[in-house]
């Protein structure tokens, strides 16, 4: 079970509180986690990554295990603690005013 922490706006959009838990088949990567996230919560399609290009939205970042994974390749394996459910993948809205 993969654990994902969403930013507040996306929790509200998905109508969830706290972490979400996802089943991911095969290799656990940014892409497979986001595929599972969007399948479970269709309202989030297009909010984390562009629906057409599949690119991460510029002001969204991915953190896990105290590392910034935002610039890792989408098909690169996420750290083992994320794949094992010991650590969550944090989806972060960049800190900026507004």
């Amino acid at each position: 079970m993969i654990r994902v922490v969403l930013p507040a706006h996306l929790r509200a959009l998905a109508h969830v509180d706290g972490e979400v838990q996802l089943d991911v088949e095969g290799l656990v990567t940014q892409r497979t986690v986001l595929d599972a996230l969007e399948a479970a919560y269709p309202a989030l399609r297009g909010t984390v990554r562009n629906q057409t290009t599949q690119q991460r939205r510029p002001f969204v970042r991915f953190f896990a295990c105290e590392e910034d994974l935002s610039h890792a390749e989408p098909d690169e394996a996420l750290p083992d603690p994320v794949a094992l459910g010991a650590e969550p993948l944090l989806i972060i809205g960049a800190m900026a005013g507004g």
């Binding site: 706006h9 996306l10 297009g46 909010t47 562009n50 002001f59 969204v60 809205g93 960049a94 507004g98």
Partner: protein, 371 residues
């Protein structure tokens, strides 16, 4: 008893303001989608409980929300806006060419007859249509692919298609306004488009009388006179009596003819309303006095409307989609400000009072007249 529902989009959420036909006591619902920019909310004339809202953020992109119960509950629908074919390029601020890139939905215009059909005007400028209640969107690409497209360039707010006017008597005809390109008209439901800018003059482009390049801010039409259009341009208040084929300046005796919003009285096709703004570099009322100007002659002769509006130290703006009218008798006029006030007049503009004073900056105001 009849009533009204005022739909307010702001920088930080949506608000729904409701009143009975007297329009004196108001209930305020919201914020809906707190923290998100709501560029526009609009209701279907065919089913007043069907509302569409454009919800966006610099972080999480564009969503479209739909309500089937008059704004009590909402659900996201489709939000994939893909330009048809090769997107091409348009002018950038520095004169270079830049690829078309979708940013946000500025305006949602539901069909007058089918609640599941709705048009979306987007940035970078293009027109999309949904016929399934917003679940999916397809581009009416002939507009963006017009031969003048490479000459279009962004205004200060981006290169946006911000105004869509549907002709109530000809279902194949509609108008779209783009900043900064101008007005375009289709007579065949979007298959082909013609620039409709003859008579516009703009100092900010090399050829002031060019076919395109004009920063049109908004358009208004009375449903009984679909050949007549009123326009608030960057500077100039204009009028056309031939469906946009030619335009005449009708704002010369205003204290300033810069502004964003324009609308027409629901029962008097020659009565129009604008909110003059000091200038293109000072987006606030002249002399700190918030005045709506009304013309009962379709332009040229104007009177300031001030009763109930602040007449000192007022430095708000009224944006292009932030004015609307109801169809009760007397006609109600509504507008929202970047200071968060929504003002209403239940007597065609003679007297004004704020419905709310302290919302986030208001981006859009629409009103539904309910049975």
């Amino acid at each position: 008893m009849s009533g009204v529902r005022v739909l307010v989009g702001t920088r930080k959420g949506a608000f729904v303001l409701t009143s009975d036909g007297a329009r004196k006591a108001w209930e305020v619902s919201g914020p809906h989608f707190p923290g998100w920019e709501i560029y526009h909310i609009n209701g279907s004339a065919a089913d007043p409980n069907r509302l569409y809202a454009s919800q966006c953020s610099g972080w999480f992109g564009q969503l479209i929300q739909r309500s089937d119960d008059g704004g009590v509950t909402w659900a996201p629908v489709g939000n994939q806006f893909v330009y048809e074919g090769v997107a091409g390029t348009h002018q950038w601020y520095d004169g270079t060419q830049r690829p078309w890139e979708f940013t946000r939905v500025w305006h949602l215009e539901p069909s007058r007859t089918d609640p599941d059909t709705v048009y979306a005007g987007v940035q970078d400028a293009a027109l999309f249509k949904s016929t399934d209640g917003g679940a999916s969107w397809h581009e009416l690409a002939a507009l963006r692919q017009h031969k003048t497209g490479p000459d279009w360039q962004p205004g200060a707010g981006g290169m946006c298609l911000h105004t869509i006017v549907l002709d109530p008597t000809r279902d194949q005809r509609m108008f779209a306004a783009i900043s900064a390109a101008g007005v375009f008209r289709t007579d065949d439901a979007g298959e082909t488009w013609q620039p409709a800018n003859k008579g516009l003059h703009s100092q900010g482009i090399p050829d002031g009388d060019a076919e395109v390049g004009h920063c049109v801010h908004s358009l208004a039409m009375h449903p009984s006179r679909p050949e007549t259009l009123f326009m608030q341009k960057h500077w100039d208040v204009m009028r056309s009596d031939d469906a946009g084929d030619t335009w005449q300046d009708v704002g010369d005796n205003l204290p300033t003819d810069f502004g964003f919003a324009i609308d027409v009285h629901a029962h008097e096709p020659e009565t129009i309303y604008i909110v003059p703004i000091k200038s293109d570099s000072e987006h606030f009322p002249l002399d700190g006095r918030l005045r709506v100007y009304r013309s009962r002659t379709g332009g040229n002769e104007w009177e300031p409307l001030t009763n109930g509006l602040p007449q000192r130290d007022c430095y708000v703006n009224v944006l292009r989609d932030a004015m609307a009218v109801d169809s009760l008798d007397d006609c109600g006029i509504y507008f929202g400000t970047t200071g968060g006030q929504v003002y209403a007049s239940n007597d065609a503009g003679d007297n004004w009072s704020p419905i709310v004073r302290d919302l986030p900056a208001v981006l859009s105001v629409e009103v539904q007249t309910l049975p």
